[in-house]
């Protein structure tokens, strides 16, 4: 396998931040852009409009199919961030007459955290669960936090920094039993882990296309029909998407997402089996170098992510030294600022250990030789930086 290298042998190991768009997806997107394509407004009632609308509905079907959902339960958004906002804000506001208490955890994506914080400022009460070992939220913990006025619980499926898989089946069952809305951010799990919304007790689920070889700037929210989940919209306008999400439908984006989900359905199993092997090779190599610890037990984490703390080196210099590797030290969103990852802090790491952590995330183009080259670069920099460190620094 060729391996995704850029410029002067750059190895891309940041697939959890974003993926390149699949060639088939690009091709389909291009069919919806130019004069000769289905560029018209999908809300227009003339022929070209109907052709564009057909593209949208085919895509909706593919997204729904991967997830075991009904087409009418899929609402297209500008990404998982918007879907998270819609679910949390929209759900909490719609249910406000029943209660004003919501529950989430400290290791959610910022789209969830900040949506909850915004509600807090508007008089909602939020319980911030501190995940136990490895970032897992237990059913017992959730049961304890539930109150009569709780209306919504938001917990992610796969953590974007550590890859930890949350037991949404059991957590959701408890929510359903208590009549509480359950929202799950599945941006990092869709297309990577099997998801069957026909069985999962989940009311709202957020998705993003660009984490699974689709385009950036498009996502979806699953909104269950039975039992019906109602939302207050967070944006207002032309009535598209059942009145839940206004704005001209971006045909090429939606078609691209549909294709990406369609491809994921056929590739998921083989892709993930391969990644488990590559991640194992990476982890064994790192252990040989030494002074490393995994943030999360491998078997509890999505197969494409490995988050590792490095002892004896400072995090920023390690990143700076790894010129040939494109990866993240925190989540991609958080990586523009220098604050240590709050997710790793929530796992109990101190600031320095959190900062000296790297998230390796592998993808379709990652090959064995990429892993081996990455290990060689890591070994070189770790050796060098550890030798440079004064021995009296802990």
């Amino acid at each position: 396998m060729a391996g995704l290298t850029m410029g002067s042998r750059m190895i891309y190991l940041d697939y959890a931040a974003t993926t390149p768009v699949d060639a088939q997806v690009i091709e389909l997107m291009n069919q919806c852009l130019g004069e000769d394509g289905d560029f018209a407004n999908p809300s227009s009632l003339h022929g070209p409009g109907l052709a564009a609308r057909a593209r949208v509905e085919i895509a909706r079907g593919h997204v729904a199919a991967l997830l075991g959902a009904g087409s009418e339960e899929i609402v297209f958004t500008s990404g998982a961030t918007e879907a998270d906002n819609m679910a949390i804000r929209g759900g909490a506001l719609y249910q406000a007459h029943r209660g004003r208490h919501i529950i989430t955890s400290r290791s959610e994506h910022r789209a969830v955290l900040d949506s909850c914080k915004a509600l807090e400022k508007e008089g909602f009460e939020v319980t911030w669960l501190s995940p136990a070992e490895q970032g897992r939220v237990s059913v017992a913990q959730l049961r304890e936090a539930l109150r009569p006025d709780t209306t919504l619980v938001s917990l992610m499926h796969v953590n974007n920094e550590t890859g930890l898989i949350q037991d949404i089946q059991s957590l959701g069952a408890l929510c359903r039993e208590q009549g509480v809305l359950f929202h799950v951010d599945a941006a990092q799990s869709a297309g990577k882990l099997p998801i069957d919304l026909g069985r999962l007790p989940v009311d709202l689920m957020s998705f993003s296309a660009h984490k699974i070889y689709g385009p950036k700037g498009i996502g979806a929210l699953f909104v269950r029909r039975e039992p019906r989940c109602n939302l207050f919209p967070v944006m207002f306008g032309g009535g598209q998407e059942q009145g839940l999400r206004p704005g001209t439908l971006a045909t090429h984006q939606i078609a691209g997402m549909g294709k990406a989900f369609e491809l994921a359905a056929t590739r998921m199993q083989a892709d993930q089996a391969r990644l488990v092997g590559l991640r194992q090779r990476l982890w064994q190599g790192l252990q040989k170098i030494g002074g490393v610890s995994a943030n999360g037990a491998l078997e509890s984490c999505a197969p494409n992510i490995l988050n590792v703390s490095f002892q004896g080196v400072e995090g920023e210099s390690l990143m700076f030294g790894l010129t040939g590797l494109a990866l993240s030290s925190g989540s991609a969103c958080a990586s523009s600022n220098r604050e240590p990852s709050y997710v790793l802090r929530a796992l109990g790491l101190d600031d320095q250990a959190a900062q000296a952590s790297l998230r390796f995330s592998l993808g379709r183009s990652t090959g064995i030789e990429d892993i081996d080259a990455a290990l060689a670069m890591l070994e070189e920099q770790l050796k060098r930086l550890r030798e440079l460190a004064p021995p009296w620094v802990q």
Partner: protein
């Protein structure tokens, strides 16, 4: 591999640091200064090999952000050949300017300045012994 990547001197001193390492400990002609800690995010050890009033050679060890490593290296080069008095004239601002250290990283350079001060203090205290 970051926005700072366009800083040529930073890259040179970070990736090929001159003065890296340490002199054999306990030598009477070697002065040493330490500053910072893991908790502060920077830790620097500076050593100067003295020849009378002069710094014959300097060595550093550093744990911290790229700027702190590069600056420590640059400093060992700068110190070589200086008298102790001249060396005490070298301050954080001069180091920061030379390496174009951004404002939010000046903290690291101040730790380096502390290490230099400690090293020169140590050097002066040793002169009595000779």
């Amino acid at each position: 591999m970051s926005a700072a990547a366009s800083n040529v001197l930073l890259e040179r001193y970070f990736f090929a640091p001159v003065g890296a390492g340490s002199f054999a400990a306990g030598s009477p002609s070697v002065a040493e200064g330490r500053a910072g800690s893991r908790k502060r995010g920077v830790a620097v050890q500076l050593q100067c090999q003295l020849q009378g009033q002069k710094i014959k050679a300097a060595r550093f060890l550093a744990w911290g952000c790229p700027h702190s490593i590069a600056a420590a290296s640059w400093l060992t080069e700068k110190l070589t050949g200086l008298s102790l008095d001249e060396a005490s004239g070298v301050g954080a601002m001069q180091i920061a300017a030379a390496l174009k250290v951004p404002a939010d990283r000046l903290g690291s350079i101040l730790v380096l300045e502390d290490a230099l001060a400690a090293c020169l203090e140590n050097a002066r205290s040793r002169r009595h012994v000779w």
